[in-house]
């Protein structure tokens, strides 16, 4: 186990930003689809906004944690992927401000 653990830690660091992005994406898309099917359109912007703020905060935390040890490739990659996830989350969330929810 001793030698597997560093890999597990690195795998977790690298997959964390991916998971944050994927969970955010699944949450906003899934909720919008469900809300539009059930007539809850008014709840969509708030829910998308809240999910995006939480996901962005998580992505920022990943960036900060990875950047501290950026000399090591895995940590740098984790931070950079966190930054990328942050951009993607912000970009995807923008739609909720400018596009009507269930039109």
């Amino acid at each position: 186990m001793r030698r597997v653990s560093p890999f597990a830690a690195a795998a977790l660091r690298l997959s964390a930003p991916v998971l944050v992005w994927a969970l955010h994406f699944a949450a906003v898309y899934g909720f919008t689809g469900l809300a539009c099917a059930r007539g809850w359109a008014s709840a969509v912007p708030g829910a998308v906004g809240a999910a995006s703020v939480i996901a962005a905060a998580a992505a920022l935390a990943i960036v900060a944690a990875g950047w501290r040890r950026r000399a090591e490739l895995e940590s740098w990659l984790s931070a950079a992927l966190g930054g990328f996830a942050l951009v993607a989350i912000a970009y995807e969330a923008l739609g909720a401000w400018i596009v009507p929810a269930c039109a």
């Binding site: 030698r3 992005w21 490739l73 995807e92």
Partner: protein
């Protein structure tokens, strides 16, 4: 930089001959049993390229038909088969296998391994694909070829509108491709993470290996969606389970979600390895390290994950709410960023170095031009309003060919020219290469650029002919001329290939490009004579005399320490040697298993159930025979040089089998995730068919208790085996299997009132139960295999890999089954 030599002295005479003898290629008919990556890789690439040629011929037939308006050369029925087969073959039988094949061919030598960790699995994957693929192609001559487009949208492809075998050939016929791709992915992930040369940390790993790692992980996540989609549609066609039948609560859009959740990442599944090849070729051609290595790795991983957020951009015209579309529009435009990073890194590398004007360089430059154009039109069609205008027109045909041919075919040609001296006695002709490039580049642009215009002025896709006077006539004629010019370029390449390619491992032309990575070391079937210690990303540039020292056996493992095929297994992050993996010899079992796997799927397609089952039994028998001879007993520690001694046996989390099982569990989880998505999706669109009354609580509690008991018995078997009580442990494992099957039986009984043909709800619930049964059968097969070996004295407290495989998979299946019980019993109660 100098690295101390582990074996600085002279090697004993006969050591190299012994290595050659152990790794020699079987001759005569037994050549078919070859498992060495050099040969399987070349066969794999050759077969994939053959499918490229066949699908290309279909394209030429279509272009001939479209050369003039109102042409009656090809009728609509055949034309439908042609475009469906062209897309299907190019994507499933050419593109994915071709890049996977390049990985099998190159990775071991590039990483400093003697072979991939599961060489028989590579051979199995290849033969299943080759036999099944050619049989699938022949369906065209029986008029049974699929004709519903490569995406096979229902309801067109349901039994009602496509009653013949054609759709079944697609749905079942590519089953072996899915198996083959996933088998390859397991091999590649474990190979990259665990068989790198000492010192090759992740930060020193060649970009191609990074690309192949992302590629394989994407296969693990994306192909399961395809498996679930094809299973659902085949269940609807064969048994009337109405997953896509709106009147019974199904929804045709569920297919599109599942298909494109696979289908869009598929584009990057084939592009990323090609981009990885370009990242290897460009530094060699410019004689300078790749600019922005870390950024390129970031781009590969970022493309991999973002590509899973794009699938709905293939569904912009299906009536999904606009805000939902905007999420996918955002992700679709954002994915241009990592692709852009790679393009700029290649340009920067070319600008920094002294570029050799060779054929690989030309194909890379051609790729840059074409792929960037395809990327730009990609951003255009990612924008929803533009897509609504261009959807289903030739503009999209132009876009996708610019992306796929620019992003994958041009890099593949560059790779052919670049790596030919690695595996052939001769390099390809540079003079003819320029002609090939000129014809292919000009032909491609003449064929496909006009299609942007043809599409923008309204010509729809997938029409077998068109009326004169629409403004499309001249453009179509030009496209057809271009297609034949492109074909002439490919024909010239084939001529040169026939003239120059002579398979050679030891006597290959070698490092004619003065490249810096390990695959260019002097090599044979055993890869390099000794396994180097790597201290940089381009060891051949940075470590003086590396090639000479490796060839003279001055690095690790200069001979065959255990007297058989073997490779060093190292730690995943830092590549520290951990144990010596003894690998299997060639044998017929993988070939037989593969042939009969393909036969099983094909016979099932034409509803010959009994022969199909016989084939399945033979395939499984061959697999058991194959597996029975694996897992040799521990043989102590052996010296590999430099005072390093490695164990010859490893079980538990460090073993390579454990990692392969981990990947298999990821695949299983992806399959299950897609089924859960299908369940929730159907509830979203048809809440009215969800029942208000479900089976009483006693049923799920009984099933869950039996599953938990089964997992507990597996745990008990583990403890007993640790204490050396092998037979009692085997009995506990067998009892665990019985308990698990009883749990599935309880679940079936709980839902016995449901008739899956009646509603999409009943169908999806029965699917969850059937899946639990399938996984129970798979875990049961592993458990029975382990029990049989235990009873034959082939498993003990130390030699326990087979037992561990059954154990960890059983735990996984238990957890998954419990989740399924919660879903089908808990969710209806929650929403009632």
């Amino acid at each position: 930089m100098a690295v101390p030599l582990p074996n600085p002295g002279t090697r004993p005479p006969g050591e190299l001959d012994e290595l050659r003898r152990i790794w020699r290629t079987p001759r005569g008919l037994r050549f078919l049993t070859v498992i060495n990556n050099n040969y399987v890789g070349v066969l794999y690439v050759g077969t994939a390229f053959t499918f490229f040629l066949l699908a290309g011929l279909l394209a030429l037939a279509m272009r001939t038909q479209l050369a003039v308006p109102e042409n009656d050369l090809i009728g609509p029925g055949l034309y439908n088969q042609l475009f469906t087969m062209h897309g299907t073959i190019m994507m499933f039988l050419f593109a994915v296998p071709a890049v996977e094949a390049m990985g099998i061919l190159l990775l071991p030598n590039m990483l400093g391994a003697r072979d991939l960790p599961f060489p028989r699995l590579s051979a199995y994957a290849f033969w299943a694909y080759a036999v099944g693929g050619f049989a699938f192609f022949l369906s065209l001559f029986a008029g049974w070829a699929p004709d519903g487009g490569w995406f096979m949208n229902p309801p067109l492809t349901t039994g009602r509108y496509s009653p013949g075998y054609n759709a079944d050939f697609w749905l079942l016929g590519i089953g072996f491709i899915e198996i083959s791709a996933i088998a390859g992915a397991v091999e590649i992930i474990v190979g990259i993470l665990r068989t790198r040369a000492p010192g090759m940390t992740l930060a020193r790993m060649p970009v191609f290996a990074w690309a192949m790692l992302v590629f394989a992980l994407m296969i693990v996540c994306a192909f399961p969606a395809m498996i679930v989609a094809t299973a659902l549609l085949e269940l609807e066609r064969a048994f009337g389970w109405p997953f896509f039948f709106a009147e019974r609560g199904g929804d045709p859009l569920l297919w599109q979600h599942l298909f494109w959740f696979f289908g869009h990442p598929e584009v990057y599944i084939i592009f990323l390895p090609a981009a990885g090849m370009v990242s290897m070729i460009v530094p060699a051609m410019a004689q300078t390290p790749l600019a922005g290595y870390r950024l390129v790795v970031l781009a590969l991983v970022a493309t991999g994950f973002l590509s899973f957020g794009l699938w709905v951009h293939h569904m912009f015209a299906t009536g999904i709410p606009r805000l939902s579309l905007s999420f996918f529009q955002a992700a679709s435009t954002a994915v241009a960023i990592p692709s852009g990073i790679q393009v700029f890194a290649w340009i920067a590398t070319l600008a920094r170095g002294r570029v050799r004007p060779s054929t690989p360089t030309l194909f890379v430059l051609g790729m840059l031009f074409i792929f960037v154009l395809g990327g730009l039109t990609g951003v255009m069609v990612a924008v929803v309003p533009f897509d609504w205008q261009a959807h289903d027109t030739y503009f999209v045909v132009a876009h996708l060919h610019y992306v796929l041919i620019g992003g994958m075919v041009f890099p593949l040609f560059a790779a052919f020219y670049y790596w030919m001296p690695y595996c052939s006695r001769n390099a390809l002709s540079e003079r003819l290469g320029r002609w090939v490039f000129g014809l292919v580049f000009a032909g491609f642009n003449i064929a496909f650029f006009p299609m942007h215009i043809t599409g923008l002025i309204g010509m729809p896709r997938r029409v077998y002919t068109y009326p004169a006077g629409m403004g499309w006539d001249a453009l179509n004629l030009v496209s057809t001329l271009g297609a034949f010019m492109l074909a002439a370029g490919v024909a010239l390449f084939l001529f040169d290939l026939a003239r120059k390619f002579r398979m050679a491992s030891e006597a290959s032309a070698g490092n004619v490009w003065n490249a810096g990575t390990l695959e260019w070391l002097p090599n044979g079937n055993y890869a390099s004579r000794s396994i180097p210690v790597v201290a940089s990303r381009e060891p051949l540039w940075d470590q003086p005399n590396l090639a000479r020292d490796v060839a003279q056996g001055r690095y690790y493992l200069p001979g065959a320490a255990t007297g058989r095929r073997e490779t060093i297994v190292s730690s995943a992050l830092d590549a520290e040697p951990q144990f010596l993996l003894r690998m299997p010899d060639p044998g017929w079992a993988p070939v037989v298993a593969a042939g009969f796997t393909a036969a099983f799927f094909l016979l099932l397609t034409v509803k010959l159930l009994a022969p199909a089952l016989v084939c399945a039994a033979i395939a499984i028998g061959a697999m058991v025979h194959w597996g029975w001879r694996l897992d040799p007993p521990p043989a102590g520690d052996v010296a590999i040089g430099g005072g390093v001694h490695l164990p010859t046996y490893m079980s538990g989390p460090l073993s390579h089998a454990w990692w392969a099982m981990g990947v298999l569990m990821l695949v299983s989880a992806s399959i299950y995730g897609c089924v859960v998505f299908s369940y929730l999706y159907l509830w979203t669109v048809s809440p009215g068919i969800w029942p208000t009354r479900v089976p009483g609580l006693g049923w799920p509690l009984a099933a869950a208790a039996l599953v938990a008991a089964s997992a507990g018995l597996v745990g008990l078997a583990n403890r007993l085996l640790k204490r050396g009580r092998v037979r009692t442990s085997a009995a506990a494992l067998a009892l665990a299997l019985v308990s698990f099957l009883a749990a599935v039986g309880v679940e079936l009984a709980a839902h016995s009132a449901l008739s899956p043909g009646e509603s999409a709800y009943a169908a999806i619930v029965m699917l969850v139960v059937a899946l639990a049964g399938f996984f129970a059968a798979a875990a049961g097969a592993l458990a029975l295999f382990a029990v049989a070996r235990m009873l034959n004295g082939l498993v003990d407290a130390q030699r326990r890999v087979v037992f561990d495989n059954a154990r960890i998979f059983s735990y996984y299946v238990a957890a998954q089954t419990l989740a399924g019980i919660v879903l089908v019993h808990g969710f209806p109660r929650l929403v009632a």
